[in-house]
């Protein structure tokens, strides 16, 4: 079916703003992605999954300007023993990065890797699989035009976490990165990500976890307020594998985090969690699609949003259980704490179940801070602002507890406390 002229024009205008990298092992995947993008067109507000989040600023040829955040607060994960890799406005910063070497892991870059590459089997493949039944055109755009990214092959138990730090400096930077992670059987990696990356950021991460492999992902999307980001995770999970991702988002006028997971091996576990806090024109969108295509798998989606002064939160979460995926254990909860009457939470939970022996539960709530609890805290001398902040941290606790490593939980809570304190003192 031909695209509407408006969509076609917008798509071609965007494509014209980029150059398709030539040659190399990824060329075929990039050409294929470009063709797929042309066929589906960039997102439009009338598209089913873009009703609550306006895509125009993500799709426009030029990135809207965004000032970078200035604060004395040291970046997150500073006390964690880690291998650090820095991208500045989407450009690899060799000087600020550690050597790309670690036992149990091989790390290379998308830009300038060797000509024949293991990542060829994954790059664009998981993304293409994730385009059905719901199209994700910004991810296809990314596969076609990504300028750089990391290719991480985990062959054993990684000695320490890999920490990707995204620095935003230039006011109109427009970054597009594409990471590929392959976790071998029995191998384990924790990947940390933090920083605002660019004025506009488009990121894809494809993660292939083999049988009994484990991948933990903890990300903090700070701190600039005007920035925009569209991120996508595409994961494929083998038998008895574990995939856990947690995202903290504070600030940002537009963040859309998509996560598409396919449980293809029996007894696999996938947890997707997130907490976000925002003010005013903050807009945060979690769009999750988990497909159960194997027996006895467990999936959890736990999302908490703290919205104030007219901020907006969106949750579109789906669990699809295929006919043979018996004994599926699926759980989904999305909750918002609305701190005033102007803030808004839009939730679209979806369950589509074709197997008959499954346990799937879902829930979604919106609420204010409990008056009785607030009075109790104040009656003990805790000032209203601090009491509200304590209750806010309590509200997001269920999502933060999805992180296995307690030190990383503390890092996340510390960030949230900092954000709340800055606003209280302002």
């Amino acid at each position: 079916m031909a695209l509407p002229q408006q969509k076609l024009d917008a798509t071609e205008a965007r494509i014209a703003a980029h150059q398709l990298p030539q040659g190399g092992w990824s060329a075929a995947a990039r050409t294929d992605a470009l063709a797929r993008l042309r066929a589906m067109g960039l997102p439009h507000p009338r598209d089913e999954y873009w009703k609550y989040t306006r895509p125009e600023t993500l799709t426009a040829p030029e990135a809207p300007a965004a000032a970078s955040f200035k604060a004395d607060e040291a970046p997150i994960f500073g006390d964690i023993d880690r291998l650090t890799i820095v991208f500045r406005d989407g450009v690899f910063d060799a000087e600020a990065s550690d050597a790309l070497e670690m036992e149990g892991v091989s790390i290379e870059r998308l830009d300038g890797g060797p000509d024949i590459h293991w990542a060829r089997d994954i790059y664009g493949t998981l993304e293409a699989n994730g385009q059905s039944p719901v199209e994700r055109p910004l991810a296809a755009l990314n596969t076609a035009f990504a300028t750089d990214g990391l290719l991480i092959h985990v062959t054993g138990k990684a000695a320490k976490p890999i920490s990707v730090v995204y620095v935003h400096e230039a006011e109109t930077s427009d970054a597009m990165l594409h990471h590929v992670v392959k976790v071998d059987a029995g191998a384990e990696l924790t990947l940390l990500e933090n920083g605002p990356a660019a004025a506009r950021f488009n990121k894809v991460m494809e993660v292939d976890v083999a049988d009994t492999g484990a991948f933990h992902h903890i990300r903090a999307q700070g701190r600039d307020h005007e920035r925009r980001a569209a991120t996508h995770i595409f994961a494929r999970l083998g038998q008895e594998s574990v995939f856990k991702t947690f995202t903290l988002t504070v600030n940002g006028v537009l963040t859309r985090n998509e996560c598409v997971i396919e449980l293809t091996g029996d007894d696999a576990v996938a947890h997707v969690a997130g907490a976000c806090l925002g003010d005013n024109d903050f807009h945060h969108d979690d769009t999750v699609f988990i497909t159960h295509d194997a027996v006895n798998c467990e999936s959890r989606q736990v999302f908490k949003k703290v919205l104030r002064n007219g901020a907006k939160g969106v949750f579109q979460g789906k669990i699809l259980v295929k006919p043979d995926a018996q004994k599926t254990d699926g759980y989904q909860i999305s909750q918002s704490l609305l701190l005033d009457d102007d803030s808004q939470f839009l939730a679209k939970p979806e369950l589509e179940i074709y197997a008959d022996d499954v346990a799937c539960s879902h829930g979604s709530t919106s609420g204010a801070i409990d008056d009785d609890s607030l009075f109790y805290l104040r009656a003990r001398g805790v000032p209203r602002g601090i009491a509200e902040d304590l209750m806010t941290i309590a509200f997001i606790a269920e999502a933060v507890q999805e992180i296995e490593d307690e030190r990383l939980q503390e890092e996340i809570v510390g960030r949230v406390e900092g954000w709340l304190t800055r606003r209280r003192d302002a």
């Binding site: 209750m391 606790a397 269920e398």
Partner: protein, 251 residues
């Protein structure tokens, strides 16, 4: 210490007068008890003094050491030295008991211009006080009152009182929901806090609690007023004769 003069209070949402002119004075070092039938306004008095929303003061005043309480925020009243032990302590999932206590202690110290307590000193203080009330480490680690039994909740109230060291303590039906042993434990905790500089206002239905916390003065409240004041023997009279008898006597 605590002085209440002709206090009149109605519900904010409806036209219902609850307190119709309460006069009461609790001097430092003394324990006063308020007894009265259901609906007489006892709990309302405790909420109004501690600053809960939903009530409108239509007349009179209440002061703590000469400072007017009614204009203060709840947290300011706490920092000024007022403490309410709740009839129904609130469960707060996600907020750790220790975090709560430390935040409360340091908020009050800050409000009074004192230095914040170091975490080592705080831990020492808590452990010592918790031991007296048979509160174990696990209870301290759990979220505030979540999963606590009725007795544990009340003990947690007394622990907060012991740690915050208020000047004026109001106990709102602290005996409700307690078995005999738990009541004794709570009463011992309260008695340990009795001192020259501290006043207590103990609100209760029954005389039982007053066997353990011996009051200096007993007030009988009915229909929004104090109708009779006397010594500890008044509590025994209530136990024997009931409230109806007193109401008739006053009328």
């Amino acid at each position: 210490m605590l002085q209440i003069k002709n206090l009149q209070v109605k519900l904010e949402e409806e036209d219902k007068q609850i307190l119709k002119g309460v006069d009461l004075e609790v001097p430092a070092g003394k324990v006063h008890a308020i007894m009265g039938p259901n609906g007489s306004g006892k709990s309302t008095l405790s909420y109004v003094l501690s600053g809960r929303d939903g009530y409108e003061v239509t007349g009179g005043e209440a002061t703590l050491e000469g400072e007017s309480l009614l204009d203060m925020e709840p947290e300011e009243r706490a920092a000024a030295g007022l403490f309410l032990a709740f009839q129904y302590p609130v469960e707060i999932p996600g907020v750790g008991n220790m975090t709560f206590l430390r935040t409360a202690v340091n908020s009050q110290r800050k409000a009074r211009g004192q230095e914040e307590m170091s975490s080592t000193d705080f831990l020492k203080l808590i452990r010592e006080k918790a031991k007296d009330l048979k509160i174990d480490a696990d209870m301290l680690k759990r979220p505030v009152n979540v999963g606590f039994s009725g007795g544990e909740k009340k003990r947690n109230e007394i622990l907060q009182m012991a740690v915050l060291e208020p000047k004026m303590c109001i106990l709102d039906e602290t005996d409700s929901g307690l078995d005999v042993d738990a009541m004794r434990l709570v009463a011992d905790g309260v008695n340990a806090l009795r001192s020259e500089g501290r006043g207590f206002l103990v609100i209760t239905h029954y005389q039982r609690l007053l066997d353990h916390i011996k009051p200096d003065v007993v007030h009988i409240m009915s229909n929004g007023r104090i109708i009779k004041t006397g010594g500890p023997e008044l509590a025994l009279e209530v136990e024997k004769e009931g409230y109806e008898h007193l109401k008739e006597e006053v009328a």
